[in-house]
C-alpha cells in the first residue's frame, strides 16, 4: 500500500490547555553546553527534587541531556530535545506538560514552538505543553557572546557559559539573535505570539561579596566571574544576560527581587538552582 503521510491541522483551540486533567509531566531543559548528567552537573538534585514535589505525581519528570553547543535547529540540539520529550510524553502518557528551561534552553523550546513543521515530532510536543517557565532565557542574546566570538577570553569560571566559542555561543550574539527572532522565532516584540505561553523569570543583579553568604548560593566562584562580565552589560543584568534579553520573548513572569527571599537577585548561575526560594515558586506553578 502506498504511504499516506501525515496531514495534521493542529488546532490549539482544541488543545487541553485550560484544564490540567490527565497526566501532568515536568521537563527540565538545560542551557548552553553538552550535558550527559544535567541533573547533577547543571540543575542539582536539590533543585529538581524540590520543584517536582509540586506535581500530582512527583515521579513523572525528566531532565533533558542534549548537546546545546550546536545551533538550535541542529539534530543534536532541538532534534535531541524533541526526541527526549517525545519519549517522555509517550512513555508516561503525558497529556499536560510543563517545561522549565534555563538560559539557552529557552531558545531551544522557542525553536520548536516557532517551527512546528520543521520536524514531524514537534506538533505533538506543542500540543502537550501547558506552558514554558523560562528561567533567565537568552531571548535577545548577550553582548558577551559577541565578545567571545570576536576573541575575548573570559576566565575559567565562565567556561560553562562561554568557554568553548561554540555554535551556540555564536548564535547567541545579539545581532544574530535579532535575525533569528525576526525570521525564525516567534514571541518577541512585533512578532506573532508563540503557540504556547512562554513565561520568563528575570535575574537583575549579581551579588559577589565574600562577606555576603548569599553570594555562595549557586557557587561563589561562578558569581565572582559574573561580576566582571557586567562591564559588557546593562545596569540591569544577571551577569550573563541583560534584563531586556531575558524578558525579550513571551511574558515576564517576575523579576527576581519581586518574590525572592531577602529579596535577593538571581545571578545567571543562581537561576538554575534552589536559591532564595526560586524552587518553591516553580513548585507551586507545576
Amino acid at each position: 500500500m502506498s504511504r499516506c503521510t501525515v496531514l495534521v491541522l493542529a488546532l490549539s483551540l482544541l488543545a487541553p490547555t485550560a484544564a490540567h486533567a490527565g497526566v501532568t509531566g515536568l521537563a527540565f531543559v538545560h542551557g548552553t553546553g553538552k550535558q550527559t548528567n544535567a541533573l547533577v552537573d547543571y540543575w542539582t538534585a536539590d533543585m529538581v527534587n524540590s520543584v517536582r514535589q509540586g506535581l500530582p505525581n512527583p515521579a513523572i519528570y525528566t531532565v533533558i541531556n542534549c548537546d546545546f553547543e550546536q545551533y538550535m535547529w541542529d539534530p543534536e540540539a532541538a532534534g535531541c530535545l524533541a526526541g527526549q520529550l517525545s519519549s517522555f510524553i509517550s512513555a508516561k502518557k503525558i497529556t499536560d506538560l510543563v517545561v522549565i528551561t534555563h538560559s539557552n534552553g529557552g531558545n531551544m523550546l522557542r525553536w520548536i514552538l516557532s517551527n512546528p513543521t520543521y520536524d514531524s515530532r514537534y506538533p505533538n510536543i506543542i500540543n502537550k505543553i501547558r506552558w514554558v517557565d523560562a528561567l533567565a532565557p537568552s531571548s535577545l542574546g548577550t553582548p558577551l557572546a559577541n565578545a567571545v566570538t570576536s576573541g575575548t577570553v573570559f576566565e575559567q569560571s565562565l567556561g560553562w557559559l562561554l568557554g568553548y566559542n561554540s555554535e551556540a555561543v555564536t548564535m547567541q550574539q545579539t545581532d544574530w539573535m535579532a535575525f533569528y527572532n525576526a525570521n525564525w522565532l516567534y514571541g518577541t516584540a512585533g512578532r506573532p505570539a508563540l503557540p504556547r505561553e512562554f513565561w520568563a523569570v528575570v535575574g537583575t543583579d549579581v551579588d559577589s561579596s565574600p562577606l555576603d553568604s548569599d553570594s555562595y548560593c549557586g557557587g561563589y566562584s561562578l558569581n565572582v566571574g559574573l561580576e566582571t562580565t557586567q562591564w559588557w552589560l546593562d545596569d540591569c543584568s544577571d551577569g550573563f544576560l541583560d534584563c531586556s534579553s531575558q524578558g525579550g520573548a513571551g511574558y515576564v513572569w517576575f523579576e527576581d527581587i519581586e518574590y525572592t527571599a531577602g529579596p535577593e537577585p538571581l545571578s545567571h548561575a543562581q537561576s538554575r538552582r534552589n536559591c532564595f526560594g526560586l524552587d518553591l515558586f516553580l513548585r507551586n506553578d507545576v
Binding site: S2, D175, F179, N183, G190, W232
Partner: protein, 392 residues
C-alpha cells in the same frame, strides 16, 4: 496523526477533491518596499538537511492587535567601546589606546595557548606617568587580565605595554559613554551576488559627530574575509557579495565588522561593532498564483517555482475584520513539505471553528507571508501584505 489505512487515504483524497472544487483562483499582491521577493530562482549545490519528511501543517490562534505585529527593522547594533588585535611586538613597544571616558575597563585576552605576563603590564597615562596594577590600575573582579583605569587619570590617549608570547585581543569598555557608534544594515537578508549596504554613524547624545573615518570588512560564516566595506556616494558602507560561495553551516550568518575613528572635543575616540546578515540563494519563489477555498474556513494553495529539491515551509498570519471594521490578526498557519524542482504547491489552512471563535469575519487577508527553505535554513520570501481574501 498518521494515515496508514486505505479508508483514511481515501477520505483524505475525497476531502482534497471537495475542497478543490470550491477553490477560486487568486494572485498575490505585488511585493512592496521592504518586502523580500526574489524575481528568479537559482539551484543551490548545498545539500538539503531537513530532519523530517512528508507534509506537516500547524495552525494556532493569536490574540494580538494589528499594531502588535510590525515588520521589524534590521537590527541596530550600538557600541561605546572597541576591540583590537595587538601583535606581540606592538604590545612590547607600547600600543596607543584612546579613552574618551574616565574609568574605562581594559581587558587583554591572550589567544588560546598563549600567555601574557601579568606583572609586565604597565599603562602610561596622557601625562606620561607610568601605572601598574594597584597604582592607577584597579583589577576588575577575579580576572587577572582585566583592569579599570583610575577615573582620576582622566581621558585621553593611554599607552599599554606588556610582555606576551603571541597576539593579544584588547577590549576597551567605556560603559556609560554618550559617544555611540551605531550601524544598521539596509536589509537583514541579501541575495547571493547582491550588495550589502549598511548605515553607520557616530553620535554624541543627539548630535551626529562629523568627520568620522569608518573602516570595515565582510566576513563569511566560515570566518573568511570576503571584502572590505567601502563608502558609497550615499554615505553608506557597501560590500559586494560574491556570486558564488562555499556552503557554510546552514543558517549561519555573515558578519559586518565596522570600526569608527573620530575626534570629539579634541580627544581621539575609537569604536567598533558588528552586525549580521543572512545571504540567501533563492532556491524557490512564489509564482504569485494561488487558489482560495472558503468552504470550510480559509484554505489557500500557493504555487511555487522550485529550483532545488528541499523541504520548504510557507507561513502566514490570517487577518480578519472585527466588529469595528478594522483588520485584526486571527491565527498563524505554517505548512511544509518536501518539494522536487518544478511547479509545486503548499497549502495553508485556517479552520472554520478557529475563525468563528475569533469573532472575525470577511474580508480576510494573508499577511506576513513567508517562504523558507528548511533544508538549507534560508529565508526566501517575506511579504507584509500577501493576499486579500474577499467574501464569497
Amino acid at each position: 496523526m498518521t494515515c496508514t489505512t486505505r479508508t483514511c487515504c481515501l477520505a483524505s483524497v475525497l476531502l482534497l477533491l471537495s475542497a478543490t472544487a470550491d477553490a477560486a483562483p487568486a494572485r498575490l499582491l505585488p511585493a512592496a518596499a521592504g518586502d523580500l521577493a526574489p524575481k528568479d530562482t537559482i539551484a543551490s549545490p548545498a545539500p538539503s538537511t531537513a530532519p523530517t519528511s512528508g507534509p506537516v501543517r500547524f495552525t494556532w490562534p493569536i490574540d494580538q492587535a494589528t499594531d502588535d505585529l510590525t515588520p521589524a527593522a534590521p537590527h541596530r547594533a550600538e557600541s561605546t567601546g572597541f576591540t583590537r588585535t595587538l601583535t606581540r611586538a606592538a604590545l612590547h613597544r607600547g600600543v596607543s589606546v584612546p579613552v574618551s571616558r574616565p574609568g574605562a575597563l581594559l581587558k587583554l585576552s591572550p589567544r588560546p595557548g598563549r600567555t601574557l605576563t601579568a606583572d609586565s603590564l604597565v599603562v602610561v597615562d596622557p601625562g606620561g606617568r607610568v601605572h601598574t596594577i594597584g597604582d592607577g590600575l584597579r583589577r576588575a573582579g577575579s580576572d587577572a587580565h582585566a583592569f579599570t583605569l583610575d577615573p582620576a587619570l582622566g581621558a585621553g590617549t593611554f599607552v599599554v605595554r606588556a610582555a606576551a608570547d603571541g597576539d593579544i585581543h584588547l577590549d576597551v569598555r567605556e560603559r556609560g559613554s554618550d559617544i555611540v557608534l551605531a550601524v544598521q544594515a539596509a536589509a537583514d537578508v541579501v541575495l547571493l551576488g547582491d550588495s550589502v549596504r549598511i548605515h553607520a554613524s557616530v553620535a554624541r547624545g543627539a548630535q551626529v559627530v562629523p568627520g568620522v573615518r569608518f573602516t570595515g570588512r565582510l566576513v563569511d560564516p566560515g570566518g573568511r574575509e570576503r571584502g572590505a566595506l567601502v563608502r558609497g556616494r550615499d554615505g553608506d558602507l557597501h560590500a559586494a557579495l560574491p556570486t558564488r560561495a562555499e556552503a557554510g553551516p546552514n543558517g549561519a550568518l555573515w558578519t559586518l565588522e565596522v570600526t569608527a575613528e573620530a575626534t570629539v572635543d579634541g580627544l581621539a575616540v575609537r569604536r567598533s561593532v558588528t552586525t549580521a546578515v543572512a545571504v540567501t540563494v533563492p532556491t524557490a519563489r512564489f509564482t504569485g498564483a494561488a487558489d482560495v477555498d472558503q468552504a470550510h474556513g480559509v484554505r489557500v494553495d500557493l504555487e511555487l517555482d522550485v529550483a532545488s529539491a528541499s523541504r520548504y515551509a510557507v507561513t502566514a498570519v490570517l487577518h480578519g475584520t472585527n466588529r469595528e471594521g478594522a483588520s485584526q490578526p486571527i491565527a498563524v498557519s505554517q505548512s511544509a513539505d518536501d518539494l522536487a524542482p518544478g511547479r509545486r504547491r503548499l497549502t495553508l489552512e485556517f479552520d472554520a471553528a478557529a475563525i468563528a471563535a475569533s469573532g472575525m469575519r470577511a474580508p480576510f487577508e494573508l499577511r506576513d507571508l513567508r517562504l523558507a527553505d528548511q533544508g538549507r535554513m534560508s529565508v526566501l520570501h517575506r511579504q507584509a501584505r500577501g493576499l486579500p481574501v474577499t467574501a464569497r
